[in-house]
Amino acid sequence: MSVKQVKLTVVVIILAFFAFFALAPFFFMLVSSFKPGDQIIKNGISARLDLDIMTFKNYKTLFTERNGIYLYWYKNSVLITTIQTAVAVFLSSLVGYGLAVYDFKGKNILFVLVLILMMVPIEILILPLYKLSITLKIIDTYAGVMLPFIVPPVAVFFFRQFAVGLPMELIDAARIDGASEFGIFFKIMMPLMKPAFGAMIILQAMFSWNAFVWPLIVLRSNENFTLPIGLASLITPYGNSYDMLFSGAVISVVPIIILFMFKQNSFISGLTVGGVKG
């Protein structure tokens, strides 16, 4: 082997090591999902497969345990993710477009505000937001989970960066033809912003599906939980639904992995939003 080949092999070995580190937990989660839950709680996750104790029972309990509570969580997650993604992406496209296309008083202040809020972690505001949710009577509701995140600054920033590159001549031409400002947005510009919508829909969907801190605080009753909150509620020393722990976790990850398989590039361009500063 030449020096060059040795180098290339070393590179592949290094990358393979990290790919293994990344993928192994998925394998063990899958294996654990077939083992009795109390076993996992008592003994932890071990390197042994223990094929003899593996069973499909855990997946059946997802439908039966506590009147199918897991299905409630799944339904809540699907609905919240769908509604929140649709509304958040639509509203942030409006704002991002407005910031990119028009000149108006206060525009620069708003844009700096977007940049700053992109970085403010909501975790800081959980207490006052909780009080506010009680006042607004949205505690323990879908609206409560969604409203504070209905115009995510990251998405606004992404749409703004994208819309700056749109052909402004089209807007002027449409105005001469008598199109209204909103007509221009809906009929001409929105179709041109399709790639940005693709990336943001995926980013938002992933964000909503996995959201934890705020839903943990705003959701109070068991049947209103989303998947992450529901799964977290199973990890207690006094629990009796341990069988659902890993089968539930596996089934909750599956949709995102499938989406990732088909839409890898949208995931990646969505995530690199902030990396390319304009």
Binding site: F18, A22, P25, N43, V120, L125, V156, P228, A232, T272
Partner: protein, 300 residues
């Protein structure tokens, strides 16, 4: 009726008004869900809040910050931030350079595989690591260190192993994302620069040091910035490992402390004061990073 409708349509469609309608969702959300809560936290931080009534107590809540729990929380969050940055900047740069080379085999597979953990929620990932870091000799973590001849560790009950467990969980979920950031940075470096360096007889290390790293500087600053925020706001990871109560404050971060104080002990005033300190940390970091990006110079 028709004229009212006409006027209305002309009004919202005028070039003066339409922009504000476009940006109004952001303004509303900012006022209601950011500005109002920030102001109300500031007010609450000077209050003693009982059931239904609030009483101004001046700086009492801030004086209470000088206690051992706050110190522990601040230390945990700072340590966590420090270690995650120390690992999650150099390592992904190295892997991104390897993945960016045309000669590397299977790079799409490797990139996707290393990215996959980012798709999981903290809770799902945390559940796996919580039980993989179990204290029994047979758990994954203890079997692995067993191979190195180290005896079983009670990972989540001692502060140093607990920090290792937290950092590993973070590295597992974020390595692939940071690689993507650095890859996009690398792809922005023109090949011509490397070719010129080749002509000047530069070796790989020189090229890495004098071309790659300086060109990646904006991405490095960005990644460090989001890591500082990610580090100081960390809560879900700690929750997945220990829920809200830990022996000797192990794994208790600033946000965990806010949660405990506010939601377990119902001491909203003190919890707000803790929140304000976190807000200040975030603001300072934010200003530094916006400055590094030269934002204030451009905006005039």
């Amino acid at each position: 009726m028709k004229s009212i409708k006409n006027f209305y349509q002309k009004f919202i469609n005028s070039k003066k008004v339409a922009p504000y309608i476009f940006v109004s969702p952001f303004i509303i959300v900012f006022l209601v869900f950011y500005l109002y809560p920030i102001i109300s936290t500031i007010i609450m931080s000077f209050q003693e809040i009982g059931f239904g009534e609030a009483e101004f107590i001046g700086l009492e809540n801030y004086k209470k910050l000088f206690n051992v729990h706050y110190k522990n929380a601040l230390l945990t969050s700072t340590n966590y931030t420090f270690w995650t940055i120390l690992i999650l900047v150099p390592l992904p740069i190295l892997l991104a350079v390897l993945l960016n080379s045309d000669k590397t085999k299977f790079k799409n597979f490797f990139r996707s595989a290393i990215f996959m953990p980012a798709l999981t929620s903290v809770i799902v990932a945390g559940m796996f690591f919580r039980y993989a870091f179990g204290e029994q000799a047979s758990t994954l973590a203890n079997s692995l260190i067993g191979l190195l001849g180290i005896g079983p560790i009670t990972w989540l009950q001692d502060s140093i192993p607990a920090m290792i467990a937290l950092v590993i969980l973070c590295v597992w979920r974020w390595l692939g994302v940071n690689i993507i950031y650095f890859l996009s940075g690398l792809q922005g470096i023109p090949d011509a620069i490397y070719e010129a360096a080749d002509i000047d007889g530069a070796n790989s290390w020189d090229k890495f040091k004098y071309i790659t790293i300086p060109s990646l500087k904006p991405v490095i600053i960005y990644v460090i910035t989001i890591s500082v925020f990610g580090g100081y706001k960390m809560f879900a990871e700690s929750y997945a490992y220990w829920q809200t109560a830990t022996p000797n404050d192990i794994g208790m971060t600033i946000v965990s402390y806010i949660y405990q104080t506010g939601f377990n002990n119902f001491n909203m005033g003190f919890a707000s004061a803790i929140g304000i300190t976190l807000l200040l940390i975030v603001l300072v970091v934010n200003l530094i990073q916006l400055n590094l990006f030269g934002l204030f110079k451009k905006e005039d």
